[in-house]
Amino acid sequence: MIEARELRRAFGGIVALDGVTLSIAAGERRAIIGPNGAGKTTLFNILTGELEPTSGSVRLGGEDVTSRRPHELARRGLARMYQRNELFDPLPARENVALALRAEAGPYRPFTAPARTERAAADAMLERVGLADRAGAQARALSHGERRQLELALALACAPRVLLLDEPTAGMSPAETARITQLIAALDRSLTIVIVEHDMDVVFRLADRVTVLHEGRVIADGTPAEIRGDTQVNEVYLGKVVA
């Protein structure tokens, strides 16, 4: 469904990605783990078109989409949950979701008021992520955990084929983490999910396969059980986190 081939990206003299190749099948749930600075967010930024690779290519659903712009990828069914929330802060949660729902129809209807049915659709999406009672609250008035939930709602409202989740549980309390993990686990199995996450319980709960990045390279790739048993991975990453 989504494929990266020999992706390289350098920032000045610093090589963030040094030849990353990975292939994620339709309906697969893939976790990408690795220490800070391994290149996970750079990889996401390239996959979503926000960053151009220095070399290498990206394919989405069989089509070469290297250096396509972000909105073109979004229109091809790619949605993203950012590590640091990217919301419409002064707008109500409901309007945040409505903007996502409306993206498909396009904005060029200067004399058309928002459809009445849209409110119900937005509220249904908010209910799905557990924000039913916060629909009227400004995005900036929500708690950190609620903002993460809204961030997920925006991504889901695009009805994506591929969902990229950049540390969905970052900064969440254990209860919030459990809830959003449950939410992601319950998503439709046809949806391809790529997840960057530091919380190994979440990774091993959600992922079908795990790819380990270290210093811009893939050092391991396998099922959660295989990754757990990999000595090199334990050395560079897991050993430090899950003692």
Binding site: E50, A79, Y82, L99, P107, Y108
Partner: protein
């Protein structure tokens, strides 16, 4: 209730010359109000960029001036006093100019967008100054013919005022519809988080360009009315001074609202045109008022009014 109130205000505005005829025979107030409405059209169009889409343009006079020149030159060269000819020429020229400038300007954001729009407007100013055969150069174009429409002659001060008032109301109506539409909501999304808009699948460059063209076309309407009202077009109409007038109107009145830019335009024009006859150093008052608003009341007059209303209700 709100609709009724709006209709009443609209009716009072259009009939202003009639119900003030007794005490206002010199038509001074009518003229001032007319010019306030022209500036208000410019401010409303600019606010679509500044307040709604979050694109702070400091070159908006380029489109106002383009519209003014287009209406004047169309009347002169085509020998037509037909209102629609002038307005269509003004809108078309302003929109095309906005499209050309916008293609470059919308690639930048924030302060860089501001500087680019300023630079392009200065180029338009230079062209207006140099192309004396067409624009009259530093002399400007004097004696612009006032238009006629469907047999109505807008030559008299009352009739012209009413033309301006009706077009102003039309612009307010269009602005209102645009702002409450899905298009307006998308522009607001652009203002709040362009990155997220892209990630949702919006072509933000095209969206910004469209807003730039719509706002430019609207400013062109204001320019045409200015040409008719003053019967004169000059490089002042494309100059930085006019851009700043519009920008200050938007900021003083309150960005992102319909009423704010209108109130702001009225305040600016009052300070510029009426105050100097009653107090010395009136020219500095505008600067002072602007500083006060920037320092103490970023939300403008509308913001202040909302705050005090909220306080009273509590």
């Amino acid at each position: 209730m709100f609709a009724g109130l709006a209709l009443a205000v609209a009716a009072l505005l259009v009939t202003f010359p009639a119900w003030t005829a007794e005490w206002e025979s010199s038509r001074y107030a009518t003229t001032i109000l007319r010019d306030m409405l022209v500036l208000a059209i410019l401010a409303l169009s600019l606010d679509l960029l500044v307040g709604v889409a979050g694109m702070p343009s400091l070159g908006h006079a380029a489109f106002f001036g383009a519209g003014a020149y287009a209406a004047a030159i169309a009347a002169q060269r085509l020998g037509s006093d037909e209102l629609l000819v002038g307005l269509v020429a003004a809108v078309a020229v302003a929109a095309v100019l906005a499209l050309v400038i916008g293609l470059f300007a919308v690639r930048a954001a924030g302060i860089f967008f501001l500087m680019l729009t300023l630079a392009f407007a200065q180029m338009v100013f230079a062209v207006a100054f140099q192309a004396a055969d067409l624009t009259g150069g530093s002399n400007g174009l004097a004696g612009v013919h006032r238009p006629t429409f469907a047999g109505i002659d807008f030559n008299g001060p009352e009739a012209l005022y009413q033309l301006v008032a009706v077009v102003f109301l039309g612009v307010v109506l269009i602005s209102w519809r645009i702002r409450s539409s899905t298009y307006g909501h998308a522009l607001a999304g652009l203002r709040e988080n362009e990155r997220r808009m892209r990630a949702l699948g919006y072509d933000t460059m095209r969206l910004k360009l469209s807003a730039f063209v719509v706002a430019g076309a609207m400013a062109g309407i204001g320019g045409a009315l200015s040409a008719y009202a003053l019967r004169f077009v000059s490089t002042n109409d494309v100059g930085i001074g006019r851009s700043i007038e519009a920008f200050v109107s938007v900021l003083i009145g309150g960005t992102g609202t319909l009423i704010g830019p209108v109130i702001g335009a009225a305040v600016v024009l009052y300070i510029e045109r009426v105050l100097p006859s009653s107090i010395p150093f009136a020219e500095t008052v505008l600067g002072l008022v602007f500083v006060i608003f920037v320092v103490a009341a970023r939300q403008g007059i509308v913001g202040l009014a909302r705050e005090s209303y909220a306080r009273v209700r509590r």
